[in-house]
Symmetry: D2
Subunit: 347 residues, 4 copies
C-alpha cells in the first residue's frame, strides 16, 4: 500500500486524484495540502468528496510531507511547482509533477515559453510521463513530469505517423477542442457559466499556446528532426474532455487500411489506447468520460490526399490525474492498469 501525498488537493486535478485513488487498491492518500482550506477536512473544502478518506488539509511543509507519504502528486501552477518538487526530491520522495515545470528537457525552451527555471539541476532526472512513449524510463524514475492535456491527445494521434515516416514532419495541424476543466477551478470572467454555455470559441491560436513546446519536443524525438506544429485550442461548453482533429500530409499516396493498421499495431499492447477502424464509429468525448482511455480514429481523405486523425481523451483523467496514477503504478511496480479500469460514465 503506497502512502500518497497530494500537493494542491482542492483544484480540479487534485480532486480527480482523490476520486481515482479512492478506488485504487494499492494506494492511500495520507497527506493533502491546500493553502486556502488549510485546517479544514477535505470533505468540508470540497463537498462532493464526502465519502473520501477524512484528511485534514494543511499548508505544504516538506518535513511533514515526507513523514506522511512516500509518493507525491504535485498539482500546483507552473512556476510554483518547481520549488516544491525540489524539496520533495531532496528528501528522495517519489514525485509525479502535474505542472509544466519538468516537461521540457531544455531549460532555455522553458524560459522562452514559461519564465525562469530555478531548479534546472533536476531536469536531467525528470522523465516525460507518457507511458506509450517512455514506459521503461518511467519505471525507473523518481521524478515524472506528467504530460499536459492537449499534448496527450495530440501526441498519441501523431506519433505513429511520424515514427513510421508516413507523413511529412512539416505542415501538421492539430485543431483541439477542450472542456472547461482544462482551464482550472479558479473563476474567471471568460469561464463564468453564462459566457460559456451555448458558446464556443478559439483562444491562443496561431502559435501562442505554451503546450506547443512540449508537443514539438516529443515529436522531434520520434521524427528525428525539427517539427513545427500549427496548434489551435478551442473552448467547448462541456466539463470534461479533449478531442483533437489532426491533419497531416502523407509522403506517398495514403491508404486508409494501412494507416489504421499502423495505429493498431503501434498501440496493440497499450492498455489505454484504443484504435477505431474504418468500420467503427468516430469517437466522442462521452466515450472516454471518467476513463483513462485515449480513443483514436485514423482516416484518409482520398480526395485531397490528407491523413485525418481524431484523438479523444478525458482531460482530467488520461490528460492529468489518470495518467499520473498510471505513472505511479509504473514507478511503484504495480500493474499499470490498477485503479484505472472503469467504464465511462455515459450519458
Amino acid at each position: 500500500m503506497i502512502r500518497v501525498g497530494i500537493v494542491g488537493a482542492t483544484g480540479y486535478t487534485g480532486m480527480e486524484l482523490v476520486r481515482i485513488l479512492d478506488a485504487h487498491p494499492g494506494a492511500r492518500v495520507c497527506y493533502a495540502t491546500s493553502r486556502r482550506w488549510s485546517g479544514k477536512r477535505l470533505s468540508e473544502a470540497v463537498g462532493h468528496l464526502a465519502g473520501a478518506p477524512e484528511i485534514v488539509l494543511s499548508v505544504f511543509h516538506p518535513a511533514e510531507a515526507i513523514e506522511a507519504a512516500e509518493l507525491f502528486f504535485v498539482c500546483l501552477p507552473h512556476g510554483e511547482a518547481m520549488e516544491t518538487v525540489g524539496q520533495l526530491r531532496e528528501a528522495d520522495a517519489m514525485v509525479v509533477d502535474l505542472s509544466a515545470d519538468f516537461r521540457l528537457a531544455d531549460p532555455a525552451l522553458y524560459e522562452m515559453w514559461y519564465g525562469e527555471h530555478t531548479r534546472k539541476g533536476l531536469l536531467p532526472q525528470a522523465v516525460y510521463g507518457m507511458p506509450e512513449l517512455h514506459r521503461e524510463k518511467i519505471t525507473g524514475a523518481r521524478l515524472v513530469a506528467n504530460p499536459g492535456c492537449y499534448p496527450t491527445s495530440v501526441l498519441l494521434g501523431v506519433v505513429p505517423l511520424l515514427e513510421s515516416g508516413t507523413v511529412h514532419s512539416e505542415g501538421i495541424v492539430a485543431d483541439s477542442k477542450s472542456g472547461v476543466t482544462g482551464a482550472g477551478r479558479e473563476p474567471k470572467p471568460n469561464l463564468h457559466f453564462p459566457e460559456v454555455a451555448g458558446n464556443f470559441s478559439a483562444y491562443n491560436i496561431a502559435g501562442h499556446h505554451r503546450h506547443i513546446s512540449e508537443m514539438e519536443q516529443e515529436l522531434r524525438r520520434v521524427a528525428g528532426g525539427e517539427v513545427k506544429l500549427t496548434f489551435t485550442p478551442h473552448l467547448l461548453p462541456v466539463n470534461r474532455g479533449i478531442l483533437s482533429t489532426i491533419y497531416a500530409r502523407p509522403v506517398s499516396k495514403p491508404d486508409e487500411r494501412k494507416v489504421v493498421n499502423l495505429f493498431a499495431e503501434r498501440y496493440q499492447d497499450e492498455p489505454f489506447v484504443r484504435v477505431r477502424g474504418s468500420d467503427q464509429p468516430l469517437p466522442g468525448l462521452a466515450d472516454v468520460r471518467g476513463t483513462n482511455m485515449c480513443i483514436i480514429a485514423p482516416r484518409v481523405d482520398s480526395r485531397t490526399g490528407t491523413v485525418v486523425v481524431i484523438s479523444c481523451i478525458d482531460n482530467l483523467v488520461k490528460g492529468a490525474a489518470g495518467q499520473a496514477v498510471q505513472n505511479m503504478n509504473l514507478i511503484t511496480g504495480q500493474d499499470e492498469v490498477t485503479g484505472l479500469s472503469h467504464l465511462p460514465l455515459h450519458p
Copy 2:
C-alpha cells in the same frame, strides 16, 4: 460470483447496470438481451461499452436465460416486463424488476394507473426494493420490484417526517426536477437536443404522473393512513439526477435542529443516505453524479412554519441500476455496498 442476466441491456438502465457490474467483484454479466441489436456484441450496439465483457446480445428466451444466469435484472417497459418476470420466476430465478409492474401490491391500483396486469399471482411475492424501508424482506426475496426514480428521491425525503408523526399527512408537496435520461433512450421530439438545451419545463403536473401511485402506497404504510401527494415533475437540461424539493406542514411548531436530528437518526446506519445539517451546504446533482448516494438536507422555514426538504439522487444509480445492484447484494448475501462505493464524477 453471481451469474447475472440483463433483459433489455441497451436502454439507459441496462447500460448503467453493465457499467456498475463491470466493477463489481461478486457478479458477472453472462447474458444480455436486446431486440434491436440481437446478434451483435454489446460493444457494437453501445460503442462506449467497449471494454466491458464481450457478450453477444440475443432476443430473450427463457430457457437460454436460465441456463446462462441465476439472477436477472429486467429493464423492460411496464406492461412488457411482467411476462418476462413471470417466465423467469417460473424457473425460480432471482429477479430484480426495474419496471413498475410489481411495485404496486394492489392490482386494482396498477390497472387504474398503468393498465391490465396479467401476472397478478406474482404480486404477493414481490417486495418493494427500497432497502431503507424493506431491507429485511428484500434479503429473503426472489422477486424485487425496484423503485421508480422519482419515488426514490421523494420517499427518502418524506418517510422520516411521516413515520415520526412530525408533519401532517395531507398537503405534502413534492416538486421534483429530473435529468433527461429518466425519460429513456428512445428519441422523441420533446427530448431532441435543441428542444431541451437552455430550456426547462414541467410535465404531467396536477396529479397525472404514474409514480404518484407508488409514492402514496409507501407513504400510507409509514403514515398508517391515507396520504395524498401533490407531485410536480420537471425536465432539467442535464443528463443525470433528480432533485426533489419537498414541502410539509408540521403538526407542532418545528425546530430545524430537531428535524435534522430526526433524519440523521433515521438514516444513521444507512450506507447510501447522507444527511446534511444546518451548517452544511445544500446538495446539488453533481454531488451524487454516478453514485448510489441520496443526500438529504432537511430545513425549517420558521417564517411560515414549513418543513422544506431537499433530496438528491442520480436517477440512473440510486434511482435505478445502483439500487438494483444494492438489492442484488442483499438477495445474494453479499455486503450491501459491494460495487457501489465510488465517489461522484464531478465536475
Copy 3:
C-alpha cells in the same frame, strides 16, 4: 426620441437594455457608465455589442448625465443605487431603478432585509414598476422601482388567486428555478462553468432570499392582509429564464376551468401576459427566451385539491430590462409595447 442613460451598462441587465433599446424606435442611448471600462467604447468593453451605437463609457457624474439624457436606467447593486438615483432625482430626471433600493415602501422592511437606507425621503415617490399591478401610477411616475426577477414570475402567478379570494393567503409555496444570469456577471466559484453545467441545486431556501420581502409587500396589497410565502429559489444550468411552480390551497373545491378563466380574464388586456388553458401545452423557458412575455398555466390537482400554477419569464427581459423599457414606455407616453414585440429565439 427619448434620450436615455444607462448607469452600469456592462452588467447583464445593462447589456440587455442596450440590446432592447437598439431596436426601439422611440429611444436612444446617449449616456452609459461603467467604472471598470471607463474611457472605452461600449463595443470594446462588451465585444458582442459591436453594432450598437458607439458610446464612450464614463464614470457616473450627475451633471454630465443630466446634460446627456433625460431618462435613466440605474443598473447598480442594491445599496449603491440609492445615491445615484437620489442625484438623478434631484435634477428631476426620470429614473427606472433596477435595484431593490426603492421597491419596499417601508424603510424598516428594507433595513431588515438589505441594510441601511440613506434616501428614505424618495420612497414615497417611488412606484413599484409592475404594469399589471400599478399601470396608472407608473404612467405618472418619475421614479419607478423595477421589480425583481423572481417577484415578477411569482406575483403574476399568484395575484389573480389572492385578489379574487380563490385561495387561502397562508400556505402558498413558490418553487422557482432561475438561469444563471440572474446572479449577475461577476465570476464566482459557484457560478464557474464546470460547477453549474450538468448540475442543479437550491440556495437561500427556507425564508432566506431577499426577494421574499418584495413579494409579500405586493401580495399583502392584493390580499388585504398578511401573506407569508414559502419561497425556494434554485439555480438552473441555463443562461436565461425563470420558471416558478406555485402551490396554493383553494378556499372551496376548485375547478380548473374556473381557475383558468380567472387568469384569462385578469390578464385579457395585458400585452405581456399569456394564459395557457387546459388544452394547451405547459410553457417552458424557451417559449419566452429573449421576450418580455410571461406565460402562465394555471392547473388544479383534483386529487389533492391544490391549485398549481406554472409561471415563466425571461429573467433578463420581463424580469429586468424588458419590464424596465415597458415602464419607460409608460412614463414617457409611448405605446407600452414599443420595442418589445419580438418573437422568442428558439431554439
Copy 4:
C-alpha cells in the same frame, strides 16, 4: 409589403423565417405549409410562435400558393424541394430555395453527391445566394439557391485568400463545428439530448460531407482553377452557430497585418461581415447568436507560416433564414439590411 409564402414552415429554418419576418417591415407571411400540421394554426403546431401572425398551415398546393403570395421560401429536404420550386417558377413566383437542389450549377456534380435531378432545366436561372459573392446577379434573379450553413462560414473565410492569390489553392483545411439545429428538427438517436449534452464528436469526415461540392464550386470560381478542400464537420453541444477554423498555406511569407487588411478591404462595404483585427478578441458563437452577422478573425502563425482564419455565424440566420431574407431584400429591391439589424442575444 411583399406577400411571402413559406413551404415547410415547421422545421427549424421555417420557424426561424417566421421569427425574422415577424419583425420585417416590408414583408408579411401570408402562406405557410406543413404536411404534418396541416389544418392547424401555426401557433398550435409550434407553441413558441404564439404571437406571430395567425396562419392556418396547409399542404402545399401550387395554385393556392400563387394566389396567396408572390415570393416563396422553400424549406424542404434536398430532392423534395426541386419539384416544388419547379411548380412555383412555372407560375413565375420569386423563390429562395433553402435546400441544396439548385446550388450546384453542374447537374452531374449534383447527381454524384445527392442523387437524381429532375429539374435540370431550371439550373441556368438559379443564382447562388451569397450576396458577398453574387450580389448583382441575385438582385435580378427570380430563383436564388440559398447557401448551406457550413459553406457560408467557410467561403467567407477563404474567398479573400484565394481571390487575391494569397494562399495556395491546395491543402486548405476547414475544421468546422456546428450546433445541433444544423441537423434539423427530426429527432434521431444521435441527437437525443443525453447523447449530445457534455459530448462532442466529428462526423462525415475525410471527404464525405455533401457541402464540400458547394464549397469547391464557389472556390473554383474565385481561384480560377481546381480547388480541393479537406473539410471536417463536428457536432457541438449547443443549439446554434458554426465556427470554422481554416488553415491555408501562403504563397509567400505572410504578414498578419496584410492578411487582416486584405479581409477588411474585401468586406468593407459588407453589412453582414465584420473583420476582427490582431488587437481584437477572437469571436465566439455568442457574438452572432440570433444575428445575420459573420465575424472573421484572420491570423498568421509565423512559427509555421500558416494562415489561420476563424469564421463564425449563426447557422439558422446567416447560415439559412437570415441570408434568405437578405436575398429576398435584394430581389425585391428593399434595403439589404431590412429586418436583419438586431444585436445578438447574449448571454
